[in-house]
């Protein structure tokens, strides 16, 4: 048998072990990226092949956190795609302002740069005190870093540029303290966000929200899982609630058209279809 076919068998067995032993189901993740990550993890563990990871996954209790961290490589930045944040500010936030209080859910928050970007915008629009923000991920290491709100200053130049392009009203420096190569987001913003473990694959609705931000997360899911998660978002949103996805994501399934209607296609902002739309 060709080595490539054997490797595919190993990856299948690894995913099966992860599911049966720990309940984390990656079997409906898109194959190509998942394979890249599993091979990177194999190399990082200095294993000769994927199968060598399986005993560790089964018997070493502490290994799960590392696996989840490596399978959900967190890469995010502040105000990535500035036009999207500009559109959220101009289109969505005025609608949120009409509620006495509102909830926002960022699904797949990774290390938190994006949810802090959102919090900064809410602060500038005078809405932060009315908002409760939930930011969830399956990667506990990333969640801890997100909660700490500490990031390397080498990224600041780009973030400052993004912030301005996104319609930032003051200076990004008004929202952090820099020290020894790192900057920390102000506590006022940090304490407005609840960081929690939530698995889009298996967990359900946990509260009713007015806006869901889930950018570049569904790109890692196959069509079946993408549909499941979009249904979950639909069920979590209030009537006419907003959903913001990544700018290059596609909603190809027919059911999706019935679930959401575009508000701004370019920015991939939708609102919930249904009752009154």
């Amino acid at each position: 048998m060709e080595p490539a076919k054997i490797q595919d068998i190993e990856i299948g067995l690894f995913l099966e072990a992860l599911f049966q032993r720990h309940g984390y189901d990656f079997r409906n993740y898109a194959k190509a990226s998942l394979k890249r990550r599993i091979l990177a993890m194999t190399a990082a563990a200095r294993c000769r092949n994927v199968a060598e990871l399986i005993p560790r996954l089964l018997h070493d209790e502490d290994y799960l956190a590392e696996v989840l961290a490596q399978l959900s490589v967190p890469v995010t930045e502040m105000f990535r795609d500035p036009p999207v944040f500009k559109s959220l500010r101009e289109t969505v936030l005025p609608r949120l302002a009409t509620y006495p209080r509102f909830n926002i859910w960022q699904a797949g928050c990774a290390t938190g740069e994006e949810v802090y970007s959102l919090a900064i915008m809410l602060e500038e629009e005078g809405l932060l005190d009315k908002a409760q923000i939930y930011a969830t991920d399956i990667n506990d290491n990333a969640l801890q870093r997100a909660e700490d709100g500490i990031f390397p200053v080498r990224c600041l130049e780009e973030y400052q540029r993004n912030y301005k392009a996104a319609g930032g009203k003051t200076d990004l420096a008004d929202y952090y303290v820099a020290n020894a190569g790192f900057f920390r987001i102000h506590e006022r913003l940090r304490k407005k966000i609840v960081f929690a473990h939530h698995n889009l694959v298996s967990d359900g609705v946990f509260c009713e929200v007015q806006l869901i931000l889930c950018r570049n997360v569904l790109i890692y899911f196959d069509n079946t899982l993408q549909r499941r998660v979009l249904k979950l978002f639909h069920d979590s949103l209030v009537r006419s609630g907003f959903l913001c996805l990544g700018t290059r994501e596609s909603l190809r399934s027919v059911e999706t058209e019935q679930l959401f209607a575009p508000v701004n296609r370019e920015a991939m902002i939708f609102h919930k279809n249904g009752e009154n739309s």
């Binding site: 890469v75 570049n216 290059r248």
Partner: protein
């Protein structure tokens, strides 16, 4: 695995001919001019998918597909997530995403870390294409000032694919072709204006049995 041609493909190419499904092309510095020369020489009935990764600024307007569409006999568009990879089309990776091929021959995107300091990375596309297309794939490395693509091209070769590299002496920036050649996984090193013909000739040549 059978090497017989499935009936759905037989109208494209005759039995006994090599069933090439796709060509992947990677380029960086000087890439636009090089791409124009290669792509404009492809005929409208090329019959394979052409998938391009060109290193571009992450926040730039993505004009590359429309620029190339103007000069190419084949339709050129940005590769869209979950879209089927179709023969006779040229696809360009969107800026700031890695582009991958799923086993069912559709596009996938990722925002995983940069590889060789770039996203999209040529290595990422080439490796995933090699996984899916095996010997039915052509990999091409053009001009560029870094070594992205070398490992990807090696993966194409290891999977049984055909590998072409622009002659470094002929390239705007020679680091990328040189790095690819250094992997010793290159079938032919050719000047820019001979690459399209080499692709055509390979598509039409009889497969080794």
């Amino acid at each position: 695995m059978s090497l017989l041609i499935p009936s759905s493909q037989s109208n494209q190419q005759k039995l006994g001919e090599r069933r090439v499904e796709a060509a992947v092309i990677g380029c960086s510095a000087g890439g636009l001019d090089a791409l124009k020369i290669v792509l404009e020489a492809f005929p409208a009935d090329l019959g394979i998918a052409v998938i391009v990764v060109a290193h571009t600024a992450p926040d730039g307007d993505h004009l590359l597909p429309s620029l190339l569409d103007n000069i190419c006999n084949l339709p050129v568009s940005e590769a869209r997530e979950r879209e089927a990879v179709l023969p006779g089309q040229v696809y360009v990776a969107p800026p700031n995403y890695h582009l991958l091929i799923e086993p069912q021959r559709s596009f996938a995107l990722s925002v995983d870390e940069r590889v060789c300091f770039v996203r999209p990375a040529i290595d990422v596309l080439f490796r995933s294409a090699a996984d899916v297309y095996h010997q039915h794939l052509i990999g091409i490395i053009l001009t560029g000032a870094n070594d992205d693509g070398a490992q990807g091209l090696k993966a194409v070769k290891d999977a049984g694919g055909y590998t072409l590299v622009q002659d470094p002496r002929d390239a705007y920036a020679d680091a990328m072709p040189k790095a690819a050649i250094a992997t010793a996984a290159v079938d032919r090193v050719l000047p820019l204006d001979a690459l399209a013909e080499a692709v055509l000739r390979f598509c039409l040549s009889p497969a080794k049995s």
